[in-house]
């Protein structure tokens, strides 16, 4: 710790931060614009001036920018001194010279960092009397609205978009007072992190476009802690609601998971909860809607039958899966995922349970100093994790800065100094990835080739690790180099996911980690699980689907499918047959899917936004989401519907169910510690979920009822649904809205952290499960199943936008979906007489996809990368052999 004296007050702060950050951390407010805890300091806005004094005798001191100032033991600092305070006011006055007076119509008004800073400096009157500069705005696509006139030139947007997130289609143009932040030409921002500009911009230049259409002021919305449902990273989000409508999704800071940033799939993908795809009422096949009671009775009848088969879901809560599993009996519960995913998750669950293996949090990923990625493109399957990997890619740059005594927070200086330092990543994947620019080694290889190399790396690190049979084309030198790079690191990280479609990839990855640990390294593993609760589902346990289709074939079983579109996962003919043979098919879901379309009985259930529950992310972190949307005619959460229909008395409340689950399922013991019980109170009152200033509550419905509406009831979460209740941060209580006196913008999150940019003062959320198995060290056997030579190998590519089930149903995301295509290198194309742009039939396992062909010379020979996961596309659960057919012209054409 370092001692400082700030305006006479002695404080102790963490070393290795700049003076601005240190001051903010001890509640000494200094206004700032260009600095950001995640982006570091560059000193361009000149807003954070303070006076520092050399020693006790120095009465004059010197004006410095606090963000660019290193700490010195015993440093005397004045924020309040008259001249420096006047300077800060004057600087705000200058940036406001050209800023429009449009706060009343600006979406950011009332939660604007610029407003906060203007107030903080005391600036109030305008002296600039000349014409303001104006700009034309650009259409930046469906996510972001551009209002350039509001720009104050802090450069945060480019620094985030380009330096931090690696985007290259956005920049700053022009010079002097005529600088313009935008794209070279109009068009959608390409980076999947563009949405963060909304929170990065200290004013209203980049505005959430879908939100603008259903706009409410920050103080007019209820905020609820939730978890993003679009991948297994499980980013923490705040859902903001008013009048039963989801208005927007904003980042909810969690130091261990998403920090300050979300991906655009998470931010703009949640509107599926209120789209045309939302399932609102129950029905029986062939008949019209069922009334709620009839539907529940019908479900009760199904659940009363013998021969029940339950199919769970990686996108449903742990509670709902557990409820179904309990009702049908664990032996009749199947996980509802493809066998390859099942096998991988099975290994993953064991690794999470292992006391020896450290599975990396996103924060850990960011801090790794050498990374090997095996067969995965995290920028598709776990975008937020990929953003963390990009930061890890700078490990070498940071090391160089350390050698040259450049503080790591001095952002551009660090980047400039390290601009010739190669990235810290090694990537083995069939296709180019968005992270290639921060990798020193990229190998374009098939999944089997990547796994073989991974096995060899483990063996190279520790000869005790199982060796791998020779495979043609592998250069031992390369393997040695990769092993050496991992060994040279202090915090090496191995990343693997499901794209290889082969659990051996995970086993080989685990072996590398084990080998590194045996060599004394603090090695970590990151497994990218396929869906939001896939790990939770695996920890819960259940049968594999191939085993499920057998009893089905025997006939007459009654299937209950929980929130799962099986048609996205399994060959359609297989499912059609199975459903035909089944006694009955009942589907519970909150969206219409191909599976609901095939069901005999369909019941609507609550989505994550409309319910409470727990999901477990890829790291094994169990996280609670709370009910955020209160509809007029709500659907019940699936667990509750199932409980009532099966007439189970053990779970009067969600907490009771969680307790039962904790006692029944091995490995889920700690699940009771996750989140708050509905009975939780602070000093006898509920925490409020609406801001103090939530206004017009009585007027909202005045057009049809002048009586004040009762706030909706909130059965399973502790939050009061109104503004009445406890306000303020409390240990273990997720923050429904970040707001603090003088800090109305998202930057108020600073006020909730123990150190600026560190953990929330009241602890990061989530409970890490696992780690209980003591006897789990040792190497896994790895078998390589080489791809057939010269046969086409189809490899799925899951686009961030639309390659995932739920976000694809959100209008903004839908607008960003591309035409599905198949890519191969020119050599492979020539071999099959395919030309670029040709539409071909790509055939595998009975499925036929008619796709436009693109040429991508990064791909290895005989590999076809197929854009998969779009609605209506046949499933492509992993790499498969396939064929390509020319479309035969119809003779009558």
């Amino acid at each position: 710790m370092v001692k400082l004296i700030i305006d006479g007050r002695a404080v102790e702060v963490q070393p290795d931060q700049n003076l601005l950050q240190a001051s903010l951390s001890v509640n000494a407010d200094i206004p700032y614009f260009c600095w950001h805890p995640a982006l570091g300091a560059v000193g361009s806005c000149r807003q954070c001036a303070v006076r520092v004094y050399r020693d006790d005798d120095d009465q004059v001191g010197q004006i410095v920018m606090s963000c660019m100032t290193k700490l010195r033991e015993g440093m005397r600092v004045s924020i309040a001194e008259r001249e420096v305070a006047a300077l800060r006011e004057s600087v705000v006055e200058m940036v406001l010279a050209n800023h429009p007076h449009d706060c009343p119509v600006c979406e950011v008004g009332g939660e604007c960092h610029l407003q906060d800073m203007a107030v903080m400096t005391g600036h109030s009157g305008r002296r600039y009397e000349f014409q303001k500069r104006t700009h034309l705005n650009q259409n930046l696509g469906p996510f972001i609205k551009h209002e350039m006139n509001r720009c104050i030139g802090c450069y945060r947007c480019v620094r985030f978009y380009r330096d931090y997130a690696g985007g290259d289609d956005f920049g700053v143009f022009g010079s002097r007072a005529n600088i313009y932040f935008g794209r070279a030409s109009e068009g959608a921002l390409e980076s999947p992190f563009a949405g963060n500009l909304v929170e990065i911009c200290p004013t209203g230049v980049f505005v959430d476009k879908p939100f603008s259409k259903k706009f409410r002021r920050k103080w007019d919305m209820r905020g609820t802690a939730s978890v993003c449902g679009h991948c297994a990273v499980g980013c923490n989000v705040t859902l903001q609601e008013r009048e039963g409508e989801l208005r927007r999704v904003v980042n909810r800071y969690n130091d261990a998971v998403n920090g300050y940033f979300l991906c655009d799939r998470g931010r703009f993908g949640a509107d599926y909860v209120q789209s045309e795809h939302t399932l609102r009422s129950a029905r029986l096949a062939g008949s019209a809607e069922l009334a709620v009671n009839e539907a529940r009775a019908a479900l009760a009848r199904v659940l009363a039958t013998p021969d029940l088969i339950g199919i769970g879901s990686p996108r449903a809560s742990l509670e709902s899966n557990f409820a179904l599993r309990t009702i049908v009996g664990p032996e009749n519960f199947y996980l509802g995922i493809h066998d390859t995913a099942y096998d991988m998750l099975d290994v993953a669950a064991r690794l999470i349970r292992s006391a020896r293996m450290t599975v990396a949090s996103v924060r850990d990923v960011e801090q790794a100093d050498s990374v090997l990625i095996i067969g995965e493109d995290p920028s598709e399957t776990a975008p937020r994790l990929a953003l963390a990997l990009r930061q890890a890619g700078s490990a070498g740059v940071h090391a160089r800065a350390n050698r040259n005594a450049i503080p790591l927070w001095q952002d551009i200086s660090v980047r400039d100094n390290g601009c010739e330092t190669p990235g810290a990543l090694m990537i083995m994947s069939p296709a180019a990835t968005e992270l290639d620019d921060v990798a020193w080694l990229t190998l374009r290889v098939r999944p089997d080739e990547a796994i073989a190399r991974a096995a060899m790396i483990a063996h190279a690190i520790d000869p005790q690790a199982p060796p791998c049979a020779d495979m043609p084309g592998i250069m031992p030198m390369q393997v040695e180099q990769m092993a050496a790079a991992l060994l040279a690191a202090e915090r090496p990280l191995i990343v693997v996911g499901c794209m290889t479609g082969d659990a051996d990839a995970l086993r080989a990855a685990a072996n590398i980690v084990e080998a590194l640990m045996r060599r004394g390294k603090q090695a970590r593993l990151s497994f990218i699980a396929p869906e939001v609760n896939a790990v939770g589902l695996a920890l819960l346990g259940g049968g594999r689907m191939s085993a499920c289709f057998e009893p089905l074939a025997a006939g007459s079983a009654n299937i209950v499918v929980l929130e799962n579109d099986l048609y996205r996962r399994f060959p359609h003919d297989l499912l059609d047959r199975a459903f035909k043979q089944a006694g009955s098919v009942t589907v519970l879901d909150h969206i219409e899917t191909q599976t609901t379309a095939q069901a005999g009985l369909v019941l609507p259930v609550a989505s994550m936004a409309e319910s409470d529950g727990i999901v477990v992310n890829q790291e094994g972190r169990a996280q609670r989401f709370y009910k955020a949307i209160f509809r007029q005619t709500p659907s019940l959460p699936a667990w509750q519907l199932l409980r009532d229909a099966a007439n189970i008395g053990d779970w009067p409340t969600l907490s009771a169910l969680v307790r039962v689950m904790s006692g029944t399922v091995e490995g889920l013991e700690h699940i009771v510690e996750v989140g708050l019980d509905a009975a939780f109170r602070i000093e006898g009152i509920q925490p409020a979920s609406q801001p103090h200033r939530y206004s017009g509550r009585t007027a909202v419905n005045a057009h049809h009822d002048v009586q004040e509406q009762a706030p909706p009831s909130n059965e399973y979460s502790p939050f009061a649904t109104s503004m009445e209740g406890y306000h303020g941060a409390q240990a273990g209580v997720p923050v429904p809205f970040f707001w603090s006196p003088g800090w109305n913008s998202v930057q108020s999150v600073n006020k909730f952290q123990s150190e600026i940019g560190g953990s929330l003062r009241h602890g990061d959320e989530g409970v890490k499960l696992g780690g209980q198995d003591q006897d789990s060290s040792g190497y896994w056997p790895v078998t390589i199943s080489p791809a057939e030579p010269a046969v086409l190998l189809f490899i799925p590519c899951l686009p961030v936008f639309g390659g995932e089930e739920l976000s694809a149903l959100s209008p903004a995301i839908e607008a960003r979906m591309a035409v599905p295509s198949a890519s191969m290198n020119i050599h492979t194309a020539a071999l099959h007489q395919i030309t670029e742009g040709a539409t071909m039939d790509y055939v595998t396992q009975g499925a036929c996809m008619r796709l436009v062909t693109e040429i991508d010379d990064h791909l290895p020979d005989h590999v076809v990368q197929i854009v998969a996961g779009y609605p209506g596309q046949p499933p492509l659960p992993g790499p498969v052999h396939g064929q390509v057919r020319h479309i035969t012209a119809r003779a009558d054409g």
Partner: protein, 426 residues
């Protein structure tokens, strides 16, 4: 009267093409290189330059040798090292480097070879402003000749020292002269300055150890090497070393450049320029380009040395004086100057970017007779905000130097504009 030594300009004849390689060598050129490469230890050369008292001629006056000394040991940070020559010369009123570049390119190259050797650089870039086309072609052809003669490239003169020189032509923007913005520009980026520390010696071009020096600074090196520290020190007056290429522009009889002892008085300099033109009185002087504060006619006896001008409340800057005469509106002049700076702000830091155009507009308003007394207070305020240490680089504080001194010295003229609601000077 003793004839003054003019080491820097001795080879330069007005309106004549520069000396070619042979003529330059015949005049003693590249002798310093021959005597030094492989014979003198680089560290000794650095020490010599420190001892010589050579101060940076780019405007700061910082000891060239001490700057070099901050380069890390090549063993501590192995890899390329660079010497960058700042030939951006865009400071209004400044035209001294052009003389050296066009007039004696081999002297420039010789200076570079010696300096690069001293800091163990392997590549040198000469960053020449794009408008100096003649300088660029002359430098390029001189570099070609030097390379053909084995004075550049691999194993120069058998010394096992390698050096390449490349000429980089700029594409405009005054800020490129700021040494760290210059580095960004050389890297093919927007020329915005970089934070210091880290200084370029630690993290310069592509993050590598780099020294940036002004043209004139480097042109001194061959002479120091050849004729020694004592001789070099004896050239200067007022306790500073060497000669200085001064310049005078404005309404003097013979505006131009003059190589004179460092520390020559302003009076003497104006004398060299033939004194004021008939019918014009000297009102004030910007002693070293647009970024320096005014000196008044009663300060003409000050020595034009770094210390001398600083003592008088201004800066030597580039040593090229701009004379304000009694028939030019001082408000108009300040408006012109602030227009320049507002245009040339790089746009990186807020007060400069948004403050300078504001200043410019207020001055235009006053000049056109629409000013109010409160505008003067406002100008004082803004000038405070754009002062030294408050903006990111020295551009805005440089801009404020003339404004602040002008607001003091020309108070009466400002008030006259405001009270008479017109400019009396057109």
């Amino acid at each position: 009267m003793m004839t003054l030594e003019r080491p820097l300009t001795k080879n330069i004849k007005p309106n004549t093409p520069p000396m070619g390689l042979h003529a330059y060598q015949a005049a003693g050129g590249y002798e310093a290189v021959r005597q030094t490469l492989g014979r003198v230890a680089p560290a000794d050369l650095v020490e010599m330059v420190i001892q010589s008292g050579l101060g940076g001629r780019g405007g700061g006056g910082f000891s060239a040798g001490r700057k070099w000394q901050l380069m890390p040991d090549p063993k501590a940070d192995p890899g390329p090292r660079y010497l960058v020559i700042n030939a951006d010369e865009m400071e209004p009123g400044t035209f001294k480097d052009r003389l050296l570049l066009e007039g004696d390119p081999h002297q420039m190259i010789e200076g570079i070879i010696l300096s690069a050797y001293a800091i163990q650089a392997d590549i040198s870039y000469i960053f020449v402003r794009g408008e100096y086309g003649t300088a660029i072609t002359r430098l390029e052809s001189a570099i070609g000749a030097a390379r053909d003669a084995g004075l550049l490239g691999r194993n120069i003169l058998g010394s096992s020292y390698d050096l390449e020189i490349h000429v980089h032509g700029g594409a405009g923007r005054y800020i490129c002269g700021e040494e760290t913005a210059l580095l960004n520009s050389l890297e093919g980026r927007r020329a915005v300055p970089r934070a210091k520390p880290p200084f370029p010696q630690i993290s310069g071009l592509w993050g590598r150890p780099t020294v940036v020096n002004n043209v004139e600074t480097i042109c001194n090196i061959p002479h120091i090497v050849l004729r020694g520290v004592d001789w070099y020190k004896s050239l200067g007056l007022d306790g500073e070393s060497g000669t200085k290429i001064y310049g005078v522009s404005g309404r003097v009889k013979s505006p131009g450049t003059f190589e004179l002892p460092m520390g020559t008085t302003l009076n003497d300099l104006i004398e060299h320029a033939g004194g004021m033109r008939e019918g014009y009185q000297l009102r004030a002087v910007l002693p070293g380009g647009a970024s320096t504060a005014f000196l008044l006619d009663d300060q003409l006896d000050i020595p034009l040395s770094f210390a001398g001008v600083a003592k008088a409340g201004s800066r030597l800057g580039t040593g090229t004086a701009i004379i304000l005469d009694d028939r030019t509106c001082p408000v108009g002049m300040l408006h012109n100057l602030q227009h320049f700076f507002a245009q040339e702000s790089c746009g990186w830091c807020a007060p400069c970017r948004d403050g300078l155009p504001w200043v410019e507009r207020i001055l235009a308003k006053i000049e056109s007779g629409q000013g109010e007394m409160s505008d003067l207070a406002l100008l004082d305020d803004i000038a405070g905000t754009l002062g030294p240490g408050r903006t990111f680089c020295a551009l805005a504080p440089g801009a404020m130097a003339s404004l602040v001194s002008g607001l003091t010295y020309f108070r009466a003229e400002f008030e006259q504009h405001i009270h008479t609601k017109s400019c009396g000077w057109t």
